[in-house]
């Protein structure tokens, strides 16, 4: 009688169930799951950090709220200083140049209140205030005068004051700066 071929002898191997060891994979996934649950945010990112902008660190514990947003950039990282309108974490239009932003009024100009205003930002805020008031009249969504400012950690105090004054002059009295929370 002929001996069975080697192929037939080995064909039984395919029927045997081979288990992949899942325990180590489960360990990795469980750790990942715990880590992700810790960094989970139910509200999502209401405010997104703009690229090429180093935000200051603070121990404040308030959570961001969505509102009209602008960016004040010292140009240290981006190379293009100035004031920008912001939408969904992106700069949209440049409102004022770095030259206007960093100008420090001296001498007789120090007494001129307009020297501490930013004209491009002022025009933008005036337009937005008019839009938001229209929305209030038509839809009943109250205009609360809130504005969110993403200012670079290297922006100087004089520029911050200019931005605040311009916001106040155009009915955006509730100014809030975005910071990175630190422990």
């Amino acid at each position: 009688m002929a001996a069975p071929s080697n192929m037939r002898k080995n064909s039984g191997r395919g029927n045997k169930e081979e288990n992949i060891p899942l325990a180590s994979m489960m360990d990795i996934f469980t750790n990942m799951l715990l880590f992700l649950i810790m960094s989970y945010s139910a509200t999502g990112m209401l405010v997104e950090q703009v690229d090429s902008l180093e935000l200051p660190q603070s121990n404040i514990d308030t959570t961001p709220r969505a509102s009209l947003a602008i960016v004040v950039d010292s140009g240290k990282l981006s190379g293009v200083p100035g004031v920008y309108a912001e939408e969904k974490g992106k700069r949209t239009t440049q409102l004022d140049t770095g030259e206007t932003l960093f100008y420090v009024p001296t001498g007789a100009d120090a007494q001129n209140p307009d020297a501490m205003s930013l004209p491009g930002l002022g025009q933008f805020l005036a337009d937005r205030a008019a839009d938001l008031k229209d929305r209030e009249a038509q839809l009943g969504i109250p205009f609360d005068g809130q504005i969110t400012i993403q200012a670079d950690a290297f922006v100087d105090y004089n520029s911050i004051l200019k931005v605040l004054k311009t916001c106040g002059d155009h009915e955006f009295a509730m100014t809030q700066f975005v910071v990175i929370k630190s422990e």
């Binding site: 996934f29 799951l33 992700l36 999502g44 405010v47 950690a153 290297f154 100087d156 105090y157 009295a173």
Partner: protein
């Protein structure tokens, strides 16, 4: 004659294995979901107010026009190149009134934020907290009364000072924003080493410039 080996001896019990596949499936669905909603950088909002001259209306108290105006604390934190001065009620280095003016020189190249916080806590503990007269309805920066989501009024402490939660900040033109934020942190809350608690200080900063 040899006995036939027992069938029991041939039987090898299978190791019971948990079926991990459903759990694995669930985890594989959960991980992308959590990845998309994870907050990698925790952002916060630092509220500020405008310099008093530029602020339109508003005020920290809910006092009506009929009531006598409350006294002002006029808490000022003024930074210069050599240090930081904390004063109340318009006191200056010239007047030198004890308890109303303090100066903290720059320490190791930076402002002494800890000393500023300690001094502000002393002012709040000795002057502001004893002036509390009860509760009153809170108003926002626009002067509107604040209400809870259920429509009930938001009640806050009624202080004996008109500007009991306000600190006026003055700094040199070239001071970087990061240093300003550190100063604002020091004026907002103080970690009390005695009680181990974080004490509220002056959460409403008004930024201006003193020439």
């Amino acid at each position: 004659m040899a006995f036939k080996p027992s069938d029991k001896r041939k039987y090898v019990a299978d190791e019971a294995e948990l079926n991990l596949l459903p759990i694995l499936n669930m985890i594989i669905v959960l991980i992308p979901l959590l990845l998309t909603s994870a907050e990698w950088v925790k952002l916060g909002l630092l509220e500020t107010r405008l310099p008093p001259a530029a602020a339109a209306g508003g005020g920290t108290g809910a006092a009506t026009e009929e009531e006598a105006p409350l006294p002002k604390l006029s808490l000022l934190v003024a930074v210069d190149e050599t240090g930081v001065a904390v004063s109340i009620e318009g006191a200056t280095s010239e007047t030198g009134e004890p308890g109303k003016y303090s100066y903290f020189p720059v320490k190791d190249g930076t402002l002494d934020y800890a000393a500023v916080g300690k001094e502000l806590w002393r002012i709040r503990k000795d002057l502001v907290l004893p002036s509390i007269k009860g509760k009153e309805q809170a108003v926002d920066a626009m002067g509107k009364a604040r209400v809870n989501p259920d429509g009930s009024p938001v009640m806050v402490d009624a202080y004996g000072y008109d500007d009991a939660e306000t600190v006026i900040i003055s700094a040199p033109n070239e001071m970087p924003f990061q240093d300003l934020v550190k100063l604002l942190d020091a004026t907002r809350q103080f970690r009390n080493p005695e009680s181990g608690r974080t004490e509220k200080l002056f959460p409403t900063p008004m930024m201006g410039k003193i020439n």
